[in-house]
């Protein structure tokens, strides 16, 4: 039996799973929509991975990352639970040890990671605002009646991207509607949108950061050719987009799982697992903490949200 390691990245929009072997080779991977239910998404994901996984492998470690990392970490009894910034950096460094800058745009967040000599020297994450993230692009795609996947191709067709007020998603949206109603062609609006995402990212997350090559662009939005094009144009540097760029977080956490393996063997079978969460509000004090109790096979494994530590 050969050893392999599972990394699961549960993001706001998509859930990614990767199984790697000891040589960092991806032997199974999957990318599905989270659709607001991380537990179900992970069940589905594991089913797909189980089908894909060739015979003769056993899972020796599981790691979780992404915004639902804690919850899924408990569900899968993961040996490591890490934030997505570290996971992305580790994943990228495994394949590109010389990388200096990682640009990452995901569903609800965007981040920049600066690396020097293989260690993270600085990072930033968008703070208050969702402007320039994947969810904004996908909601605008819906408004314009096209698939997010086709967005990039549309943008490349344009030679004259329209200017879109990009400071804030709400203003960008009304500006976009205005431009559409005035009669600008769809390609130009889409191209303008892609450009505004780039500008927003550089003005918000990338502010004050020195962006040096080699630059790697990842996260779901990196699949959008239009955004890549404008990053190249504005930064005047080559942008590397790995074919697995959307899976980098999952790969990173799988690598970390290998480093932190406990010796246990894990199963991908989740059909019989009962995993429920119960939410309630505590009224002992005016804090009214929203508490969440997590049950795994009817056994209370954790509860979150308490400010005083009573639960």
């Amino acid at each position: 039996m050969k050893d392999c390691y599972l990394g699961v990245d549960i993001g706001s929009i998509s859930t990614k799973g990767v199984i790697i072997d000891d040589n960092n080779k991806i032997i199974a991977s999957s990318y599905i929509w989270t659709e607001g239910n991380p537990v179900e998404a992970v069940r589905k994901l594991l089913d797909i991975l189980k089908e894909e996984l060739p015979k003769g492998y056993q899972i020796k470690g599981i790691g979780t990352t992404g915004s639902a990392r804690k919850l899924i970490g408990l569900m899968l009894k993961a040996c490591i639970v890490k934030n997505e910034i570290t996971a992305h950096a580790i994943g990228t460094l495994t394949f590109y040890p010389n990388v200096r800058t990682i640009l990452e745009i995901g569903g609800q967040d965007s981040k920049i990671i600066l690396i020097k000599n293989g260690i993270i020297t600085n990072y930033a994450m968008n703070t208050l605002c969702a402007a320039g993230t994947g969810s904004f692009l996908s909601s605008q795609a819906k408004r314009l009646g096209i698939d997010v996947e086709e967005f990039g191709d549309y943008a490349l067709k344009s030679t004259n991207p329209v200017k879109i007020a990009a400071r804030c998603t709400v203003f960008a949206e009304s500006d976009l509607v205005h431009k559409a109603q005035v009669g600008y062609p769809k390609e130009d609006i889409i191209a303008g949108l892609c450009k505004s995402v780039v500008l927003n990212y550089l003005n918000n997350v990338g502010k004050g950061k020195k962006i040096v090559g080699p630059i790697i662009f990842q996260g779901g939005v990196s699949k959008n050719k239009g955004v890549v094009k404008y990053f190249k144009e504005i930064l005047k540097e080559d942008i590397i987009v790995d074919e697995n760029s959307h899976l980098m977080g999952a790969i990173g956490i799988a690598v970390l799982a290998r480093r932190n393996k406990t010796g246990n063997v894990y199963s991908l079978e989740m059909k019989n697992l009962k995993f429920i969460t119960k939410a309630f509000e505590c009224h002992r004090c005016p804090n009214t903490c929203e508490l969440l109790k997590i049950y795994r096979n009817d056994e209370l494994v954790d509860s979150w949200g308490s400010k005083c530590g009573k639960y």
Partner: protein
């Protein structure tokens, strides 16, 4: 009988309570309710939307105190928007229909003792200046002792062998402090507890991480408003250095400004208001003392600190030190803070290993 109250900041309600209850024998000092989610909810509801967050916290506490039948409130002022808090809050409270007096101890950036004496006489005719001076002295000492002990705790709490020993001893100490009667007793209590703190077993490795926290004063000093940042850092076994405390603000700030300006003259020439210039100098100090990282915290819309941020960024890139910026608002997501802190911690660990 007058019922007096004041907004919270950290543990400083203990010396404040001590002072007020001694200098106003005929006045009841209201036990100010702890800051909770409810406080900030009330505060946000009645505050202007884009005011800095401390305004919302203090207004929330004031309303909670007024609901507990307080009728006289005490507010201070500072060198930024803080200077307008008292007037604006009084107006908001009056508009809400509360019948109260807000005593502003600092107007136009300075404390006018004649004016305050008059105001305090109005609260309590039995108010005597000599008594006030005596108890004021004890209170200042109490603040100083608390700050010394807090500094020690911050350096060591991440390394305690029995979790919770620092916190429980500190609570015990604060209760004893609130019962002291004279300076001699205060000093003895302080010495006793200081020895007890020194005796708490800690395990400090040589390669421990050290972080300096700088930023806007209220957010730094009121743990509820920074989502218990120091506590979370301590959980990761990090030594914390913090400069701002009440003793610093009252007695050292004015004295140290010139020194700070000289020390970091390549970064600023004129004062940036409030604590911003101090923070720039501290940032340089932390970089030079080879701290592993710097966390800069402020409440959203804090103008002086916004002015200081690009300079801090510049200093950090000169010295190649990582800085993490946090802006806390009434609607900050706790998960977001956790993720950034975790990543910051991972990064520092990685840098240390290399």
């Amino acid at each position: 009988m007058t019922k007096i109250a004041f907004p919270h900041m950290g543990d400083y309600h203990i010396p404040a309570n001590f002072l007020l209850s001694h200098i106003f024998p005929n006045t009841e000092v209201i036990k100010v309710p702890k800051i909770t989610s409810k406080t900030i909810e009330i505060g946000t509801k009645y505050s202007p939307e884009f005011v800095c967050t401390p305004f919302k916290y203090t207004l929330g506490t004031m309303i909670e105190c007024l609901d507990k039948e307080a009728d006289t409130l005490i507010q201070m002022g500072g060198g930024c928007r803080y200077g307008y808090y008292a007037e604006l809050q009084e107006k908001i409270l009056k508009d809400l229909g509360y019948n109260c007096t807000v005593i502003n101890l600092v107007t136009e950036g300075t404390t006018n003792f004649k004016r305050i004496n008059k105001l305090l006489k109005q609260i309590d005719p039995k108010f005597s200046k000599i008594k006030a001076l005596y108890y004021g002295f004890i209170t200042i000492k109490m603040v100083k002792y608390m700050d010394i002990i807090d500094d020690y705790i911050r350096e060591n709490i991440g390394f305690e062998i029995n979790p919770g020993s620092f916190e429980s001893l500190k609570e015990e100490m604060l209760i004893s402090f609130s019962h002291v009667k004279n300076y001699h007793e205060l000093y003895k209590t302080y010495k006793r507890y200081l020895n007890k703190f020194y005796k708490i077993k800690v395990h400090k490795p040589d390669n421990r991480l050290k972080i300096g926290i700088i930023g806007e004063l209220y957010t730094i000093m009121e743990p509820f408003s920074n989502y218990f940042l120091e506590k979370q850092l301590a959980k990761h076994h990090i030594e914390i250095k913090r400069f701002t405390n009440v003793h610093y603000l009252l007695f050292e700030k004015a004295r140290k400004y010139k020194k700070y300006q000289k020390y970091s003259k390549e970064y600023f020439t004129y004062s940036l208001g409030a604590d911003a210039s101090d923070n720039i100098a501290r940032c340089k100090y932390l970089c030079e003392k080879n701290y592993d990282g710097i966390i800069h915290i402020k409440s959203s819309f804090c103008t002086p600190e916004i002015g200081a941020m690009p300079i801090i960024n510049k200093i950090a890139s000169t010295y190649q030190k990582p800085v993490l910026f946090f802006s806390f608002d009434s609607a900050t997501s706790e998960t977001g803070i956790q993720t950034r802190l975790e990543a910051f911690y991972d990064m520092l660990e990685m840098r240390k290993e290399k």
